[in-house]
């Protein structure tokens, strides 16, 4: 087994294991920590895929930003006081069944999928490549995403601020 495969399986285990734990833990704090493990694993996969920029972005944005947000809210609303309550809602078998059916169908379709022939990456650094693509071909979404973030900021401030 070569080194890359080893890393792949290691990161996959982290990603999927963390994800499974995240959705099954009773405590929200534990779930958040499992989620962090999972996201780290995904970051590792990005590294294996030569996406260094995303690897950094994943760690800084997700683990630094989003998870912190989650933990902050969990502390604020003291979720763990509700630990004794039911963790799954009543119709969970229905949700699980939908997931399983979709999973089987998707797996079958994927197993028969044929991708177009592979191409090689241009021989420039990943960050330069991403930057070029982003600013040349994807200028519009780059501009629109500023609106998105503005809405998110205004919205979350509006909703979370104390009553006037």
């Amino acid at each position: 087994m070569n080194l890359e495969a080893l890393f792949f399986y290691a990161f996959t285990t982290l990603a999927l294991g963390g994800a499974t734990l995240a959705i099954t833990r009773r405590s929200a704090v534990h779930a958040a920590i499992s989620l962090m493990v999972s996201l780290l694993g995904v970051a590792g996969l990005y590294l294996l895929l030569n996406a260094e920029f995303l690897f950094v972005a994943q760690i800084i944005l997700y683990i630094g930003g989003i998870l912190l947000l989650f933990l902050f809210v969990i502390m604020l609303v003291n979720l763990d006081a509700g630990r004794g309550l039911r963790q799954f809602h009543q119709r969970w078998p229905l949700g699980a069944a939908v997931t399983v059916i979709a999973g089987v169908a998707f797996a079958i379709l994927w197993s028969r999928a044929v991708l177009p022939p592979a191409q090689t990456m241009p021989d420039v650094g990943n960050v330069e490549l991403v930057a070029d693509t982003l600013l040349q071909d994807y200028l519009v979404p780059f501009e629109v995403v500023s609106l998105l973030l503005l809405v998110a900021v205004v919205g979350s401030v509006l909703l979370a601020r104390k009553r006037a």
Binding site: S38, L39, L115
Partner: protein
């Protein structure tokens, strides 16, 4: 394409979490898992096709994830304020 399988597994775990859990914070985390599944796909295809479009897409997906999490948690806080003594777990929203 092993990465695609990882992505699918991630998607399903996220979906399962979203459809079965009651805790809203964990449901929001499930959405993050789903978006990560999308990103694994995008980055894997990006390498397969030899262009960076997928990675750029993934950046935007991360931005969207940040925005959704921020607004989602903002709404959660507003809700919590309105029912201070009540546990968030009891907000049995996803009944259908």
């Amino acid at each position: 394409m092993h990465y695609v399988a990882v992505s699918l597994a991630m998607l399903l775990i996220g979906t399962a979490g979203l459809l079965t859990r009651r805790n809203i914070v964990i449901i929001l985390m499930s959405i993050e898992l789903i978006l990560n599944a999308v990103n694994i796909n995008l980055v894997a295809f990006s390498r397969h096709h030899g262009n960076a479009a997928g990675q750029v897409f993934a950046i935007f997906v991360i931005a969207v994830a940040v925005a959704e999490a921020a607004v989602g948690l903002g709404i959660l806080l507003a809700l919590f304020r309105n029912r201070e003594t009540v546990q968030v777990d009891e907000v049995d929203l996803l009944k259908w």
